[in-house]
């Protein structure tokens, strides 16, 4: 499990969607490709991070991290907690957390031939 907490806490998992086990190396644009059902399509467009059958481990984890980071930014007391642990001011911590949302889990895995 990843360890990016402060005060040695890792961040919470707030996402309801469960990771499908198996191949983590599927097509990266699967989320965008998943458009047969218009209702589902709308759901995906509206709620970033909604999972589907082909969600990869990387995608899921990235969504988790982005959700977590934005939750910390959105709760003043959590932000203060992280700031105290890290020895930074709150504005810097908020900025760095938002910046980290760009690529919270490192580089995406390469494509494999399907």
């Amino acid at each position: 499990m990843w360890k990016c907490g402060s005060w040695f806490h890792a961040f919470p998992f707030s996402h309801p969607f469960l990771l499908s086990t198996g191949d983590a190396q599927s097509n990266m644009s699967s989320e965008l490709r998943y458009t047969q059902n218009t209702q589902l399509e709308q759901l995906h467009a509206r709620y970033t991070g909604t999972g589907h059958a082909d969600t990869t481990k990387y995608e899921w984890l990235t969504h988790q991290h982005r959700d977590t980071l934005s939750s910390i930014v959105g709760h003043p007391s959590l932000l203060a907690y992280v700031a105290i642990a890290d020895g930074e001011c709150q504005a810097r911590e908020r900025f760095e957390l938002i910046e980290r949302m760009l690529q919270p889990c490192g580089k995406p895995p390469g494509k494999t031939d399907e």
Partner: protein
């Protein structure tokens, strides 16, 4: 288990602030959001520092003030985790309160990534449009309109979404009366999500995007987008648009983009200007070290006489003044200079009256007054024109340096004391005999502004004079000579064998020619009529009408006066023959006796009448307490003089009685209510309401004041009537914010006191304590907890008390800071290498200027021995370079012969991401001299950070990473005896209760463990929790029950089945536990959740303690937002049912200002269980009467009963 949550101290930290004219009057107010949940209006310059507050029952994410054209007051716009945008009005009359005007739903509840609301930007002309959005993706634009009745309402939202964008900041651009324009900082992440090489991530650009709301077409367009600095973090609005009358441009418009080390002025289709952010010289920087860029954390723009300037604040707290030279719409130069240094703030607010409110992110908030605007000082200025291409070159501009200095342009005028963040706390009575309630000791603050604070319940006293007296008096009064006098002239002291009169002038001295009888004690004195004085002594009355004229009235032979009460026109005395005599001032100004005496069923122990009401001749009621345990209310009206109106039986003989008219809106919203206060011999104060027509008594409230029978005195505090009660503590009943408050005074035990109004102290009190005369004032009413503070060096992490002395041991550590040893080493190294070291920055006081920043992994830390009673540090022990203390405990080792030792767990070069350290240490200190000195014994190396340590049966338990270890003390080191490394994440807490060990995991809740030494030493886990919990603190409620607080603000109680608990304790070898089959991939037994509640902020400490003398144990919690609260267990199921029903009715009232569903808020992470929200129930008293009575009807009670029950719930267990 059922608990009742009450807030003892609301959150203090300011997360957001906005300035505006919210009340619609001329002055400006500051709206602050405290702890993310509480709205408060702060008003400056009034002597009382008036403020209004309201609980939002939701987390406020963003706030702005706005005003529509043609309106006279500012409205408040809030976005919160309710998924609604709220428009709130601050209403001043009849009582100041907030009113939610409109709540527009825009998304799901919760602070989510997919729900807009993190940022809120308002069109600066306020005229119509507002938009709110988030860190990701969507933006919504609302147009605000007024309907035909002038009411505000937002239109349906216009969407301006961009998929896959991260938004760093959004503001409204000032365009005058052109179409509203908004600027946003956006990064597109879609490409970097798909590029496995990482090149797209490296090449990702941050764009400054302008969105225009076309009011004519009613849609939003993305008007302009340009890449800007990747490290841009903040946008600041620049004034623009043309002045309606003079056609002059207010400013160049556009935005300031604050980036790391630079500030850029940008606007559509205009040349940008860039200036560097000046920085302090770091004397500790090593050669070749790249220092991190400086960001602007908060900014404020201020317009003054057609010009404008900005104040920007960086991470160190340095303020910069930035201003723009412009000609019309064209910018000539952007200039920046150092202004002053104030604590790092979340928000800066400038008031038009010339004040700066800095809402500091941690600790006290300060108010500064502008002395000057740094217009012609000799600070260096940096202008964009100094650089080629106005600074718009690629790459960084050369560093600009300045020297920080003490305040020059600002003057500190006021400080709002703030507890946040409370990092650890203990609730304990260290004062022994002199206090009957515990005090709260809290480690507060961050970095060099940290403090250790002592919180005592009660009002603070400011003593002016304490002078000895010749004997021990039993009463003191003050007297005016005539009705019109502004100040008191005499102080009258009654001794058992005489009366002393002192005159107040330049000095206070004894006078003898006053006409007062000085040979015996006095029962009462009064300024009577226009210019008369009255003395009541045991054998008669003396009415001194002029220097030479004294009317006397003597008691019938064989009787004496036992009690007397007076006001300006009436006198009542009780005789030892169980009779009452009534006098009233007649038109000639002499006292005339009523023809009949009233006989009583028992001897009167106390009598009381209220003041003469304004415009009346007399007060209608007399209250008499008799020794047969009854209280009589007797009429004084002419048609029914001395007839008994009502009677109340008591549980003990009354010692003192006092009628007073005090304002309390919960009883009568328009007039003052007459309260009858009865002090009983057993120390209880009874407070009942007297019906103004019939004189009947109702709504009795009880309160235990102290061990002595209370003496009651009517007085006036800050100009309003109040009652003082003197028991083992002195208490004050007074009106604050239109509600009656009962609070103790933090002062020596007083025998008696009166109001004193003299030139030197117009609103003072004069009291007696033993044989000393005290003159004092109560400077701040309404403050429940008095604070004493002591400053600390670094961020306090934990503290514990010595087992029996009043000594605390505290560990403090700061990350990214160099300790004194490291600083000394670097300075001497640099000097040895021949570098010049400018030490002046190192000598600046760190509490104002901070400490030089260091990289991650650098720590400064110390162990402090402090005396909490005198608030003084006994000594400190600085740790080694980059070694930080994380845990401490008192342990008893076998080889220490029963003497306690202090064990401190430390780690060297700790980094948080990834979590790790170079090495961990367990330092053992012997405690000497009753705890006042520590002697270093030895230290033991570990491979992990020891996050928690605990003494256990002559051993030491250490939680190091995933393993729980047991150590025994050796001569030179601790010796590891056994280990259990089956814990899932990291051990965060260890609690020892008897032979049981309760281990709290950082993510996976608690584990119940036992230690078995036969056949081999083993630490065995026999029970755990079914839910993941990110624990921060754990405390034992009883042997089988734990109360825990977690990182998300939940407090919950878990209980282990008693049968399991007994079975485990009866198993001497642990074989049964060891071979039990695990359940659900964990231990064999599970705890059950019995209570759960979300308090709204990270819980940092939990203590089980009794807060009032004779009260039950309650759970006191503290939070990182500076709040202190308590969970009180219910005694009876009737109470549970009543409170739960009341809470249910209160929920249906939707009182949340932000429209958050209360049940959803309190059950944010897991459903509320077994806890009633007292804050919500307390809001009952502020509901309109019709709603109150309809709820009371549903409960089959009267409104008074409900209010009484609420008060009782609070006062019986807390304050």
């Amino acid at each position: 288990m059922h608990l009742f949550n009450i807030t003892l101290q609301p959150p203090t930290n300011v997360t957001l602030a906005a300035v505006g004219s919210f009340s619609g009057t001329k002055g400006q107010e500051i709206l602050v959001v405290r702890g993310g949940t509480r709205l408060e209006i702060l008003k400056l310059n009034t002597s009382t520092g008036q403020h209004t507050y309201s609980q939002a029952f939701g987390t406020v994410r963003s706030v702005a003030g706005f005003r529509l054209a043609g309106m006279t007051k500012d409205y408040i716009l809030l976005s919160s985790d309710s998924g609604r945008m709220s428009i709130i009005e601050f209403v001043v009359t009849p009582t100041p309160h907030f009113e939610s005007l409109y709540q527009e739903v825009f998304g799901k509840s919760g602070s989510r990534r997919v729900v807009p609301g993190q940022f809120l930007a308002v069109d600066p002309k306020g005229r119509s449009s507002v938009r709110s959005l988030i860190t990701l993706r969507s933006k919504l634009v609302y147009v605000l309109n007024r309907n035909s009745e002038g009411k505000l309402f937002p239109s349906s939202p216009l969407e301006a979404h961009k998929n896959h964008a991260l938004i760093t900041h959004v503001i409204g651009v000032d365009q005058g009366y052109d179409n509203p324009l908004y600027a946003a900082l956006e990064v597109d992440y879609s490409e970097s999500d798909e590029d496995p090489t990482g090149a797209a991530f490296e090449a990702a650009e941050k764009h400054l995007v302008f969105y225009e709301l076309d009011l004519g077409l009613n849609h939003v367009v993305r008007k302009w987008s340009e890449p800007t600095d990747r490290r841009a973090n903040l946008l600041v609005q620049v004034p623009g648009g043309q002045n309606a009358t003079s056609d002059r441009f207010e400013g160049p418009s556009g935005v300031l983009v604050c980036c790391e080390d630079h500030v850029i002025w940008k606007h559509m289709d205009a040349e940008a200007h860039r200036v560097p952010i000046p920085r302090r010289r770091n004397p500790l920087a090593q050669r070749g070290e790249i220092s991190r860029g400086m960001i602007i954390v908060s900014a404020v723009m201020h317009k003054i006489r057609g010009a404008f300037f900005f104040l920007l604040q960086n991470e160190d707290g340095d303020l910069y003044k930035l201003w723009i030279d412009h000609q019309g719409e064209d910018v000539v130069a952007v200039k920046i200079k150092y202004f002053d240094t104030v604590p790092v703030s979340n928000s800066l607010c400038i008031l038009k009256s010339g004040y700066l409110f800095a809402a500091s992110e941690f600790g006290d908030q300060n108010l500064y007054q502008f002395q000057n605007l740094a217009e012609d000082d000799d600070e260096q200025e940096w202008s964009s024109t100094d650089y080629p291409d106005n600074g718009n070159t690629t790459g960084a501009l050369p560093y600009a340096f300045f020297n920080p200095r003490p305040l020059q342009n600002l003057l500190l005028v006021d400080t709002l004391s703030s507890l946040d963040p409370i990092l650890d706390a203990q609730v304990v009575n260290l004062l022994g005999q002199s206090s009957d309630t515990p005090q709260i000791y809290a480690a507060c603050g961050r970095g060099p502004r940290s403090t250790f604070r002592t919180l005592k319940h009660g009002l603070e006293i400011q003593q002016i004079v304490a002078s000895p007296l010749p004997g021990v008096p039993n009463a003191v009064w003050t007297l005016k000579l005539t009705e019109e006098d502004e100040f008191d002239s005499y102080i009258v002291l009654s001794f058992p064998n005489g009366t002393l009169v002192l005159s107040i002038g330049e000095t206070i001295e004894e006078v003898n020619d006053t006409g007062f009888l000085s040979s015996g004690p006095t029962l009462a004195v009064q300024q009577l009529g226009d210019a008369g004085l009255l003395q009541v002594h045991p054998y008669g009355l003396r009415h001194i009408r002029a220097a030479d004229r004294v009317d006397e009235w003597a008691c019938p032979p064989g009787s004496a006066i036992t009690a007397a009460t007076t006001n300006k026109r009436q006198v009542v005395i009780a005789l030892s023959t169980a009779e009452l005599v009534y006098f009233e001032l007649d038109p000639e100004g002499s006292l005339s006796e009523y023809q009949d005496k009233k006989s009583l069923p028992g001897n009167a122990t106390c009598v009381s009448i209220a003041e003469v009401p304004e415009g009346r001749r007399r007060t209608p009621f007399l209250a008499v307490g008799c020794d047969n345990q009854t209280v009589h209310v007797i009429s004084l009206e002419p048609e029914s003089t001395l007839t008994t109106l009502s009677l109340q039986a008591l549980t003990a003989p009354p010692a003192s009685i006092c009628l007073a008219e005090i304002f309390d809106t919960s009883i009568d919203k328009n007039r003052a209510t007459m309260f009858l206060n009865i002090g009983l011999m057993n120390g209880v104060l009874l407070r009942t309401v007297v019906d103004p027509v019939e004189g009947s008594l109702s709504d009795t409230r009880l309160r235990f004041l102290g061990a002595k029978p209370p003496k009651l005195v009517r007085s006036s505090i800050h100009g309003s009537p109040s009652v003082m009660a003197f028991s083992s503590r002195a208490w004050l009943l007074y009106t604050y914010q239109d509600m009656l408050q009962t609070q103790p005074l933090i002062y020596d035990a007083l025998e008696y006191a009166s109001t004193l109004s003299a030139a030197m102290c117009p609103e003072g009190l004069i009291g007696i304590s033993g044989n000393t005369l005290r003159i004092f004032t109560i400077p701040r009413l309404g403050e429940k907890l008095k604070q004493d503070s002591m400053s600390l060096t670094y961020t306090p992490r934990k503290f514990i008390s010595h087992p029996f002395s009043t000594i605390f041991y505290m560990i403090e550590s700061d990350h990214r800071v160099l300790g004194p040893k490291a600083i000394q080493r670097i300075v001497s190294q640099k000097k040895a290498a021949g570098d010049r070291v400018d030490g002046s920055i190192l000598e600046l006081p760190p509490s104002e200027f901070g400490r030089p920043r260091a990289g991650p992994g650098h720590w400064a830390s110390l162990i402090r021995i402090l005396d909490p009673l005198t608030n003084q540090t006994v000594s400190t022990i600085e740790l080694d370079e980059d070694e930080a203390a994380f845990s401490l405990t008192i342990a008893y080792f076998e080889n220490m012969a029963g003497e306690p030792s202090l064990v401190v767990g430390t780690a060297v070069k700790t980094t948080l991401t990834p979590r790790g350290c170079k090495e961990g240490w367990l330092r053992v200190y012997a405690i000497k001299e009753n705890g006042r000195t520590l002697e270093f014994m030895h230290k033991t190396k570990l491979d992990e950070i020891p996050l928690c340590v605990a003494g256990f049966q002559g051993y030491l338990l250490v939680g190091a990473g995933k393993s729980l270890r047991l150590y025994e003390a050796g001569k030179k080191a601790l010796l590891r005896k056994c280990e259990n490394n089956s814990f899932p994440t990291v051990i965060a807490t260890i609690n020892v209760i008897g032979a049981r060990i309760i281990v709290g995991d950082m993510q996976e809740s608690t584990f119940f463990c036992v230690y078995r030494s036969i056949p081999t030493r083993q630490l065995l886990v026999f029970g755990d929790d079914t839910q993941p919990r990110f624990l921060t603190c754990v405390t034992n409620v009883d042997y089988d029950t734990v109360a825990c607080g977690d990182k998300f603000g939940n407090v919950f109680v878990n209980r282990m089945d008693q049968a399991v608990s007994e079975k485990v304790d009866d198993d001497p070898t642990g074989a049964g536990i060891l071979h039990e089959k695990g359940f659900l991939m964990g231990a064999a037994h599970k705890t059950t959740l019995i209570a759960h509640y979300q308090v709204g902020s990270v819980v940092t400490s939990l203590t089980k303690v009794s807060l009032v003398p004779g009260g039950r144990d309650v759970l006191v919690y503290t939070t990182i937002s500076g709040a202190v609260g308590a969970l009180v267990p219910f005694i009876s199921m009737d109470d549970v049912e009543f409170m739960t029903t009341l809470e249910m009715h209160m929920r249906s009232q939707n009182i949340s200002l932000v429209g958050r569903d209360h049940l959803a808020y309190r059950g944010y992470y897991a459903p509320v269980m077994g806890v009633v929200d007292g804050d919500l129930c307390d809001a009952y008293s502020s509901l309109p009467y019709t709603k109150q009575s309809s709820i009371a009807n549903e409960l089959d009670r009267s409104v008074g009963d409900v209010l009484k029950k609420l008060e009782q719930m609070r006062t019986s267990s807390a304050f």
